[in-house]
């Protein structure tokens, strides 16, 4: 399943994860999306001050952003598919310079599907794909943007691999 035109550049294998949780499909979807703030790791954001909360707008085209302690808002993604309670896709819009990437063609994407198991549990399958798109902007000199926990240049590294592949 692809939401955008196929990428012709060298691709990097997606990351796939699955987990089963004790919640109905509808609850699992809601907690993952609308209530993302209740579980999202606090260290993972691209703001310049500590994050206050993470917000997912409940519609296709909606923003994914954080509110920071300094009262700024920090976009980091967009909702590509909003299909409760089955499927949620968002663009991971973070540049190799660790800043918001407005261009969806230069963003990777994360698809999350929810499958009710019929016993009050739900399987959650996550796929983070198209890392190579972050390399589409070509090499760029880092300007010293610091990331909160040292993984700031990760997407730049993926891009580097994509360019070499």
């Amino acid at each position: 399943m692809t939401t955008m035109a196929p990428d012709t550049s060298a691709s990097i294998a997606p990351v796939r994860k699955s987990i089963t949780v004790r919640a109905t499909q509808a609850d699992a979807f809601r907690i993952f999306t609308t209530d993302m703030d209740s579980w999202w790791p606090r260290s993972h954001h691209i703001g310049k001050s500590p994050m206050k909360r993470v917000i997912i707008e409940e519609k296709a085209g909606g923003r994914c952003y954080t509110e920071q302690e300094d009262n700024t808002e920090c976009d980091w993604g967009s909702v590509l598919a909003w299909e409760p309670p089955r499927r949620f896709i968002f663009a991971w819009q973070i540049t190799p310079q660790w800043q918001f990437e407005p261009d969806l063609a230069k963003s990777s994407e994360v698809e999350v599907t929810f499958t009710g198991l019929g016993d009050g549990r739900t399987r959650v399958d996550l796929e983070h794909r198209h890392f190579e798109r972050h390399g589409a902007g070509g090499p760029a000199m880092r300007t010293g943007v610091d990331s909160p926990n040292g993984w700031g240049d990760l997407l730049g590294m993926f891009a580097a691999v994509a360019e070499k592949a």
Partner: protein
């Protein structure tokens, strides 16, 4: 192995070195040093840390030693996202579980 890579990338000068090598391909220490406001020995020290983390590889070319990104080291960094989503989904599942337990205890 991941920690050593993340530590290596935790420094802004080293991240800038990686970006430069990514843009320029293989470079000698002297050429790199000219692009940064730090001494040549400092660049060498940064390169050693990057090399130990397998993010950068070196090769002799004539009398010069050239440094370039180590693709093998980089591809294993993909595992970091793997780890990130494992942690994030675990946090999600833990939250859902706590909520399920709370619901069960209610009369």
């Amino acid at each position: 192995m991941h920690d050593i890579k993340l530590d290596a990338m935790g420094d802004p000068t080293r991240r800038a070195i990686v970006q430069t090598l990514r843009a320029q391909g293989a470079m000698a220490v002297g050429d790199l040093a000219r692009r940064f406001p730090v001494s040549r020995p400092a660049i060498s020290q940064h390169l050693k840390i990057l090399k130990d983390a397998r993010l950068v590889a070196d090769e002799a070319q004539g009398r010069r030693r050239l440094y370039r990104l180590d693709p093998a080291g980089f591809s294993s960094l993909r595992d970091y996202f793997d780890q990130f989503w494992t942690e994030a989904l675990d946090a999600f599942a833990e939250h859902v579980e706590a909520r399920a337990n709370l619901k069960r205890r209610k009369p």
